[in-house]
């Protein structure tokens, strides 16, 4: 079974976000990690590989630094990596999905995995769009995945419960927390990662031009969330305090 995994490099979950003088998100000094949902996807791919004697290719789009994420996946056990560096000023989910779909269409694959969303922009669109472009079924937010011959049995989270979906392969599946517990790369794995193939592609290598992937969406403005106000303790006997709290929620916070 040949599995392709999309991995994105994102800000560390504990990163302090600031804006630069152009009003854009300032990447300086922020430590970068593999998008945690993508890490679940990598782990799942490796488990499938181990069961089926398969092959795992990890694909990332980003600057040269995104190699860190690919090396991590290789160290965990992936077989090869593809880094696409489009060098575009503006991108959106359409751009990303178009490029990724083109890259994947040049490969052999039975299954495409990814995180259900990236923790930075949180759009949750890329995997779905890739599936659409490639004409493949997509199952989102999967917490359990079984592969049986040419079909995948995926358990996904839905409002108030879970749903089991069967799809024919190839398909696109996105990972939700709970799918698995990702392994740590071993020290030997890290040493071997350097020797594994990493293909580096520019937009032109995929036969695409910048005009073909011009974003459909433009960000008008970035702003930071307003700082959290001081908490308030409502004193008094439980019954009185509860009544006071309800009044505050209604009149001051205006949330109920």
């Amino acid at each position: 079974m040949k599995v392709v995994v999309f991995t994105k490099q994102t800000f560390d979950t504990e990163a302090k976000i600031t804006l630069d003088d152009q009003g854009k998100i300032n990447p300086e000094g922020v430590s970068l990690i593999i998008n945690p949902y993508d890490e679940f996807a990598v782990e799942e791919a490796l488990r499938i590989k181990e069961k089926t004697k398969g092959e795992v290719t990890v694909v990332s789009m980003g600057g040269p630094k995104a190699q860190d994420v690919l090396r991590q996946a290789l160290a965990m056990g992936a077989d090869r990596a593809v880094l696409i560096t489009p060098e575009l000023e503006e991108m959106d989910e359409y751009t990303t999905a178009t490029i990724l779909a083109r890259a994947v269409s040049r490969m052999e694959y039975d299954l495409i995995l990814g995180g259900w969303r990236a923790i930075d922009d949180g759009s949750a669109q890329v995997a779905g769009r890739v599936a659409e472009i490639l004409g493949l079924p997509v199952v989102n937010m999967v917490i359990k995945l079984e592969i049986d011959g040419g079909r995948a049995l995926a358990t996904r989270e839905i409002e108030g419960g879970s749903e089991v979906v069967e799809v024919p392969l190839p398909a696109v599946i996105t990972a939700q927390k709970g799918l698995n517990e990702p392994r740590y790369p071993t020290m030997k794995g890290i040493m071997q990662a350097k020797k594994k193939p990493m293909e580096k592609l520019a937009l032109s290598d995929l036969g695409l031009t910048a005009e073909e992937v011009v974003p459909k969406v433009r960000a008008l403005k970035y702003f930071l969330p307003s700082p959290r106000a001081q908490g308030k303790i409502v004193p008094g006997e439980p019954a009185e305090a509860a009544a006071a709290l309800v009044r505050l929620l209604r009149e001051e916070a205006k949330v109920i």
């Binding site: 991590q72 160290a75 790369p185 071993t186 020290m187 890290i190 040493m191 990662a193 350097k194």
Partner: protein, 384 residues
């Protein structure tokens, strides 16, 4: 001169930091409360290959240079110190003797299982009457046919209750004493006549166990001699001197962690309407902690590099152990001070670090002994 850390080692450091800060840290309080490291943490460390840090690749280890090892131990040093000690005593004094002095046969026999962590190593030199003065050990070994018969008692042996393979220093010729009369042996825990005695109750390092090791007509096959018969004292010194820079690297990691905790706390804690980090008294402490940490780190890297170049580190080895362990003492003390009353509470990691840090000035040769060695070298060098 180039201080750039290779990408591959950076990847390892990143992985280890993630493991230590996010995984080990979660269980730190539990380790403290139960005096036991959860098995799954040890298993993860094994899977990652950490037990093979000091073992050459041909025997299943990672084949790292001393500098590379120190760069990794630095990350481990951020963890609960008992966790670090468990691994550090194995990769340091627990395996060094076999790696450095073992015959090909001994290495093939023991190292692969030690590299994977399946078998844990320990080092037994100290006895009730022989601490700083290791020349006065009393444990004896007498050759009978094809076996050595060991009798005696070691104490304060780290990892003894869990370890499988012990490097033991014993007297083989009382007349000659330390000069030609000591020998190093590889002793397995299941050899007849081998016993573990009392497990000590300690000030800190809860989760790491230190115990007596007792030999009662313990039978050790003749081929389990490590190095040459009669060269055991210099073997012991060799094992300990290699361990010193590695211990220093662990101290640097602990300093780093304490500094980080302190800088964070100082910015969060408000007194007199401002973060205490705005007070110069606190800032000076932070600045001194950071400087101590950096100085210890620089010396560690340099001495590790010297080891890798095969340069003698007879005085530099003791220097780095001395400086890094005392830097950690100062840093831990300031960390507690910056945390105020909270620093005295078991709910905060600094309290544990403060107790755990204390041992680094005592074991693997007290700091007085380190100073003595350094001074001896100086006096010899500039003899008039």
């Amino acid at each position: 001169m180039d201080f750039t850390i290779p990408e591959e080692i950076m990847d390892m450091k990143r992985t280890l930091r993630n493991f230590v800060d996010n995984e080990v840290e979660k269980y730190s309080q539990q380790i403290e409360d139960e005096d036991k490291i959860p098995q799954h943490l040890i298993d993860k460390a094994k899977e990652m290959g950490l037990f093979g840090m000091s073992i050459p690749e041909e025997y299943g280890g990672l084949g790292l240079s001393m500098l590379e090892r120190c760069l990794l131990l630095e990350e481990l040093g951020r963890a609960n110190m008992s966790f670090t000690t468990y691994i550090g005593a194995h990769t340091g004094i627990g395996t060094t003797g076999i790696v450095e002095l073992g015959s090909e046969e001994i290495k093939r026999k023991y190292l692969p299982a030690m590299a994977s962590g399946e078998k844990l190593g320990a080092f037994a030199l100290t006895e009730p009457d022989a601490g700083s003065d290791a020349t006065s050990i009393k444990t004896t070994a007498v050759l009978k046919g094809d076996r050595w018969i060991l009798n005696g008692r070691k104490h304060f042996i780290t990892n003894a209750p869990e370890a499988d393979i012990f490097t033991v220093i014993a007297v083989t010729d009382r007349e000659k004493g330390a000069r030609g009369g000591f020998t190093a042996f590889v002793v397995e825990k299941n050899f007849p006549g081998f016993y573990i005695g009392t497990i000590e109750r300690k000030m800190g390092l809860r989760g790491s166990h230190t115990a007596e090791v007792i030999f009662e007509n313990c039978e050790v096959p003749a081929e389990n001699v490590l190095g040459e018969v009669g060269r055991g004292y210099s073997s012991a010194l060799k094992i300990l001197s290699k361990g010193r820079v590695a211990l220093a690297a662990r101290c640097v990691g602990a300093c780093d962690k304490l500094l980080e905790l302190s800088v964070r706390y100082a910015q969060q804690r408000i007194q007199f309407g401002k973060p205490i980090a705005s007070f110069q008294a606190i800032q000076w402490m932070l600045a001194e902690m950071a400087t101590d940490t950096e100085a210890a780190r620089s010396l560690t890297y340099r001495v590790a590099w010297m080891v890798d170049q095969g340069l003698p580190v007879i005085k530099e080895g003791p220097m780095v152990k001395l400086f890094a362990s005392e830097a950690l003492g100062r840093v831990a003390d300031k960390a507690v001070q910056i945390h105020g009353g909270m620093g005295y509470m078991k709910d905060f990691p600094v309290e544990r670090f403060y107790r755990d840090a204390r041992i680094t000035r005592i074991y693997e040769g007290t700091n007085e002994i380190q100073r003595m060695i350094i001074a001896n070298r100086l006096l010899k060098k500039f003899e008039i």
